[in-house]
Symmetry: C2
Subunit: 197 residues, 2 copies
């Protein structure tokens, strides 16, 4: 694990880019931007995972434990809430946002898809989107579609605001959905404004 730089506020960089084949490179770009704004960026893959003798499940669980430790070592989380394999953010990112909120860290976030959650979910459901007798939007399992005019499930945006953070939206080109860092940089500017140096 890299040694923390003395005196810099540490930001945990949550998001699905850990799944990119060039995850380390993308995390590195985010860390450089953090430095530009006077912060220390902490990427989940910074945790040094020694898997000798561990089963795959044990290695996965150890990774989670190390990520929790990294979050505890930070003061702020900046989460990438860009929808991932469905209409919502990556669940691992959502869990980390909540964990940080519970710890009392400030949770900032950005998404590279500015559409509202309701519109995205209806588009994702396609023909399966319907309305019940009371005209409420629901899916083919008779489960409602959230309609709060928020960016994702209400718990996510609520967690951000309750923690004292903010959400930034940006529209990336489809091919750059997980590599475009302009939304991330706009979010860093919000963090910087809230933590003048």
């Amino acid at each position: 694990m890299e040694r923390p730089s003395k005196g810099l506020v540490r930001i945990y960089l949550a998001g699905p880019e850990v799944f990119l084949l060039n995850a380390i490179e993308t995390g590195g770009r985010k860390k450089v931007l953090c430095r530009d704004y006077g912060f220390e960026g902490v990427f989940p893959l910074d945790a040094e995972l020694e898997v000798g003798g561990l089963s795959r499940a044990q290695a996965g669980l150890k990774t989670g434990r190390l990520n929790e430790q990294l979050i505890r070592s930070c003061q702020i989380v900046v989460a990438n809430m860009t929808p991932f394999r469905g209409p919502s953010a990556d669940v691992g990112t959502a869990l980390e946002m909540g964990f940080a909120g519970g710890l009392g860290l400030k949770v900032f976030a950005y998404t590279n898809d500015s559409r509202r959650f309701t519109a995205r979910t209806v588009e994702w459901l396609g023909k399966e989107a319907t309305r019940d007798a009371e005209k409420r939007l629901c899916d083919e399992n008779g489960m409602r579609v959230e309609d709060w005019e928020l960016a994702d499930n209400l718990m996510l945006e609520s967690c951000i605001l309750n923690s004292g953070g903010a959400l930034v939206t940006h529209d990336a080109a489809p091919s750059e959905r997980f590599s475009d860092l302009r939304g991330f940089e706009a979010c860093l500017k919000r963090v910087s404004a809230a933590h003048p140096k």
Copy 2:
């Protein structure tokens, strides 16, 4: 909001059943089961939401704030991790699990789909599942598929175990995916064994 019953350990009932058209009834069934095992079940919709004068977004955010307060009033969370609109758990549930873990609550969970996350994701991706030059499973965006032999994204199962909780798996019939409470009851038995009365 219902008055807490004195002396009973309070369990926050996280899960996507809040989206069921009969959510209140389903939450009521869960609360009865909690009583049977000597606990006080707390359902997200127990929060009394007064929306007078609020925009939809404000009402959604207020709901989130009330849910955070309900979680803080509990000692344990039992989360329904059954995959919801995609290969993973509901993101709101994931956020609540993390929030509880950050607060130091014990997080138990169950899923009504016992398949491993990797198999579910590959099935969900269908033709878009592929392998890169190094034979790593990935999707059409060149993003890896987690392969840890866990039930969902590693952060979820890790959060459960780090908090001192446990995960129970059960296979519900497709038509009863969000109404079958046998996995929930099996999870309550685990909670009860960890908290003898």
